[in-house]
């Protein structure tokens, strides 16, 4: 009458086990394990012993308490992962047990919730990006970029990939690793030299707004790509599309990006959402799952995974990608987010980031020695150059509990990066400005004193 199981989630009593053993006709499970080398059977692992739920909760809360959440003070780190407002209804809906604990909708008759929600995600993103087709998710923004390059290679039969150095460092680095598989040549060039390098390439990969927040004129790059038979891959950010001309209108053949800002928690960088969109003509080259509309035997509308002959479970080594488990729940989350925000809310969120970034930029550049690192217009983040090394300034700010990023591993551009969103509070902005003031003044004095 007491819990004798070591696994608290096991419904089996000893009586259950005895009855099952009996039915199988054995005395012990070990009789089933004769194929396992004796010397390897049932090793001691050296793992800790189990805990009760309350003990686990206490232990994990103590670990969580050793992290500094974004909400715990001024916070300006951003980039592909952004602190965005998540409407309360988003997790209530997307994390319902029926979504959370289902798997890939292999049996569409009992998975219409998933299938329709993902179909809606595809439709919403396709509208936002002005692209024909969106798949049901890639792992994250970086693998979406890499898979876009692979797709371009398949579509063009070329092995050279040209990527702008102002694409997020993490995306570029991932592409470079992926490229080692099929042995692609990857060239990273400044954005303004992309067009010049189009010749012989499978694709040009451009990010707009770029990793520093700069607005990029994508059209000529797309034209250059097309002129030389290459595809144009645009790395995009979901919110930016509410205000900026979208990839589909700029000539992009593939649009990819990190979908985390669409209602998904930052969670140290995952699980997130790789957005992947393309033009209709290229759909059969697309990686990943795609949901399509159909009818059931009674004529009722329904949804199914479709165009599966692209996929590994059917095509195996000829598949367009090896992806199987994807980020469907993040796609459903994004669908709920966009449905709740609507065009008005999405625009407002995007506008807030832009307006706050520009206001902050004005205030910061009023500080002696501080300047925006880029020449052209920017969106909702910018790089600030001061007399200090970015890393130094970042650390000095962190001491005052103001968190910023330094350069995104862009080798020859130094400074700190300031991302704004609708979450950026007035007090946070004040804290940043006065801290930068104080710290850079100190640094100037130190230099003067030398």
């Amino acid at each position: 009458m007491s819990g004798t199981n070591s696994n608290p989630y096991s419904p089996h009593t000893d009586a259950d086990r005895a009855a099952m053993l009996k039915r199988v006709g054995i005395k012990s499970v070990d009789e089933l394990l004769t194929a396992i080398p004796r010397d390897a059977l049932r090793p001691r692992l050296g793992l800790p012993t189990g805990m009760s739920e309350i003990e686990v909760q206490v232990h994990l809360e103590s670990l969580a308490a050793k992290n500094r959440p974004a909400a715990a003070g001024p916070f300006f780190i951003g980039g592909p992962v952004q602190r965005r407002y998540i409407p309360a209804a988003v997790p209530v809906l997307a994390l319902r047990g029926e979504f959370l604990t289902a798997y890939t909708p292999y049996q569409p008759e009992v998975s219409q919730g998933t299938l329709q929600a993902v179909f809606e995600y595809q439709s919403l993103l396709s509208e936002l990006l002005a692209m024909d087709v969106v798949n049901s998710s890639m792992y994250d923004g970086s693998t979406a970029v890499a898979e876009a390059a692979f797709m371009a290679v398949r579509a063009t039969g070329r092995k050279k990939v040209v990527i702008a150095r102002e694409v997020y460092y993490q995306f570029r680095a991932t592409l470079e690793t992926y490229a080692k598989g099929p042995d692609l040549e990857v060239f990273a060039v400044p954005t303004d030299q992309l067009a010049a390098n189009a010749g012989g390439s499978a694709c040009l990969i451009v990010q707009h707004p770029d990793s520093f927040g700069a607005l990029v004129d994508v059209r000529p790059i797309a034209e250059a790509a097309h002129a030389s038979g290459a595809l144009c891959v645009q790395v995009t950010e979901p919110h930016a599309n509410a205000l900026l001309e979208p990839p589909g209108a700029l000539g992009a053949d593939i649009a990819v990006g990190e979908g985390q800002p669409l209602g998904i928690p930052m969670s140290l960088g995952g699980p997130h959402l790789g957005i992947f969109a393309t033009r209709e003509a290229l759909v059969r080259q697309m990686p990943g799952r795609i949901v399509g509309e159909t009818r059931d035997a009674r004529g009722t509308r329904g949804f199914v995974n479709t165009l599966q002959t692209r996929e590994q479970h059917i095509r195996r080594e000829k598949a367009t990608s090896n992806i199987c488990t994807n980020e469907a729940l993040a796609a459903i989350t994004a669908a709920a987010y966009l449905a709740l925000m609507g065009p008005t809310g999405l625009r407002a969120a995007a506008r807030n980031g832009v307006a706050k970034a520009h206001a902050l930029a004005s205030r910061l550049t009023a500080i002696p020695g501080c300047a925006i690192a880029m020449d052209g217009p920017f969106f909702d983040r910018f790089q600030l150059r001061t007399q200090m090394r970015g890393r130094e300034l970042k650390h000095a700010l962190a001491k005052e509990n103001v968190l910023v990023d330094d350069g995104l591993h862009h080798e020859d551009r130094d400074g700190i990066l300031i991302q704004c969103t609708e979450m950026t509070g007035e007090e946070e902005a004040n804290a940043l400005v006065s801290a930068v003031q104080r710290i850079t003044a100190g640094a100037r004095e130190a230099v003067a004193a030398r």
């Binding site: 090793p43 994990l60 992290n67 029926e98 890939t104 792992y139 001309e245 969670s267 590994q312 520009h358």
Partner: protein, 501 residues
């Protein structure tokens, strides 16, 4: 009891383009509706130069929150899920997903942290990952772990890049261009090999469901990168010549990749590292109870032997002598980044919570119960269906509906009939080497009553296949939808809604 009605009702009054269970968001849309989750920032418009501003229309649906809530509530209720019933999808380990794991993952200290924060502001997270690596290494008998892969397939690709680095270092890469996979392998295995630029050699299975040793040996050579092997394999069977297999591959200079999708059979039962594997991935969404999220996210940590460690992707987490944790410097031989950041951290938190809860004994008990449940269910079903390879199974087993097929009832028909009995069907038509395959994995968290009920349902269907096959072919009758027309979905793809313009 079989499926019953509930209260789900579609958004009343909304007209759908065709008969439908629930309108699309685009059908619920009405111009002028809006919530007020975020507002303001109008000054932004003038800050963006004209040439960059969006001119394309932005026809996202306009819907207010009350309707959005109903819509997704209705959709959710249309799903079958582990939270609603037994989900014996073979190879997927649809075990119970503990709710405490979700609560922990949503703590602000885990959910509201950014991967670009400095190490000293994420010590708890780094420690969790460091310890999880250690747990996984011990569990698998491997030396080092990367938590980064987002799923099993991602780990496979990562591992093949490690193999490539390993062979390169030995000057062998140019000639090693072939990856061997058994014919029972999961589709991701050959697909990952292809993504890695390798050719695939398929080796057949023997009469006992093992990889055929003779064929394997014949396929080996100094052009072989390695072998990708699932163990227990996708038939639910433990490879009987595992050490010989691994030895043969190693002798040919190849490496052995362990596809750990079936690790739920091995917790505390055997360590892949003791069996000859050079690395193995873990699908934490299977073995470690993290929710499958309607298709994902998962996480696919990759555990490797020391010889592969130098090549592991960046960033690596290290522990300093003062007890603090940090991102180590990029190892010189690292293959680089395989994704933006650390991995599917939110999923890893759940896995860590689960492992901490169960502990060594609990994990071992889980595998033991999973094996027992599968063999028990097999015993209950073996008279009604053909057993693909008849020997004790591990945590899952594969039946064939070949006998029923002769009665006019396919494996798929059996699956659909199970829906009407209130169960999610097993995996069908996989592995490919079993005709009319029904791959059944009960997991350790289904009570015996449920196993009995599932067996009774399967046996009833087998009976009906004999006596009334057309009734089986007409299934499902009690699901939200009848069978869907997948052929025309693929022939005339409608991949998004069409808005009246």
């Amino acid at each position: 009891m079989t499926a019953i009605r509930t209260q789900v009702v579609p958004e009343s009054g909304v007209k759908t383009a065709v008969p439908a269970l629930e309108p699309l968001l685009s059908e619920i849309h009405q111009a002028g509706r809006a919530g007020r989750h975020v507002r303001g920032g109008e000054e932004a418009d003038t800050l963006i130069p004209q040439q960059f501003r969006r001119r394309a229309s932005l026809d996202l649906p306009e819907i207010t929150e009350p309707q959005v809530v109903r819509h997704f509530t209705h959709l959710a209720q249309l799903n079958y899920a582990v939270d609603t019933g037994m989900y014996p999808l073979g190879s997927c380990t649809m075990k119970y997903n503990p709710k405490v794991n979700d609560r922990i993952a949503s703590l602000a200290g885990f959910a509201d942290i950014h991967p670009r924060q400095d190490d000293d502001t994420i010590q708890g997270a780094l420690r969790l990952m460091f310890e999880l690596q250690d747990l996984l290494a011990k569990l698998t008998g491997m030396d080092a772990v990367t938590l980064q892969p987002a799923a099993g397939a991602h780990a496979e690709f990562t591992a093949l890049l490690l193999f490539k680095a390993h062979h390169s270092k030995r000057g062998d890469d140019a000639k090693r261009r072939r990856v061997i996979v058994p014919d029972s392998a999961h589709g991701t295995n050959p697909a990952s090999a292809a993504m890695s630029g390798y050719a695939v050699t398929t080796v057949k299975s023997d009469a006992r469901g093992n990889i055929d040793l003779t064929s394997l040996k014949a396929a080996l050579g100094d052009d072989v990168v390695g072998l990708m092997l699932t163990n227990p394999n996708t038939l639910g069977l433990f490879e009987e010549h595992l050490r010989e297999v691994c030895d043969a591959v190693h002798q040919a200079g190849g490496l052995v990749y362990g596809d750990g999708a079936n690790m739920n059979a091995l917790l505390g039962v055997a360590r892949p590292g003791d069996l000859g594997f050079d690395c193995i991935h873990i699908n934490v969404h299977k073995t470690f109870s993290t929710p499958h999220g309607a298709g994902g996210p998962g996480a696919g940590p990759l555990c490797v032997k020391a010889k592969l460690e130098p090549f592991l992707p960046h960033p690596r987490i290290t522990k300093d002598s003062d007890g603090s944790y940090r991102r180590g410097p990029t190892p010189p031989e690292s293959i680089g980044r395989i994704r933006s950041f650390f991995g599917n951290f939110g999923v890893l938190v759940r896995a860590y919570t689960y492992m901490t809860t169960l502990g060594e004994e609990g994990l071992a008990e889980a595998s033991n119960d999973a094996i027992l449940a599968a063999n028990y269910l097999l015993a209950l079903l073996r008279d009604s269906y053909d057993v693909a390879f008849d020997r004790p199974c591990m945590h899952e087993f594969v039946l064939s509906a070949s006998r029923q097929k002769k009665q006019g009832v396919s494996g798929l028909d059996v699956a659909k009939a199970l829906i009407d009995e209130g169960f999610h069907p097993p995996t069908v038509y996989f592995p490919l080497i079993v005709p009319e395959a029904l791959m059944i994995e009960p997991t350790e968290t289904e009570p015996r009553e449920t196993l009995d009920a599932f067996a009774a349902a399967m046996n009833r269907i087998a009976e009906r296949a004999k006596t009334d096959p057309s009734s089986v072919k007409a299934a499902p009758q009690h699901a939200p939808l009848a069978r869907l027309d997948e052929v025309s979905a693929a022939r005339y793809p409608k991949l998004k809604w069409l808005r009246p313009t």
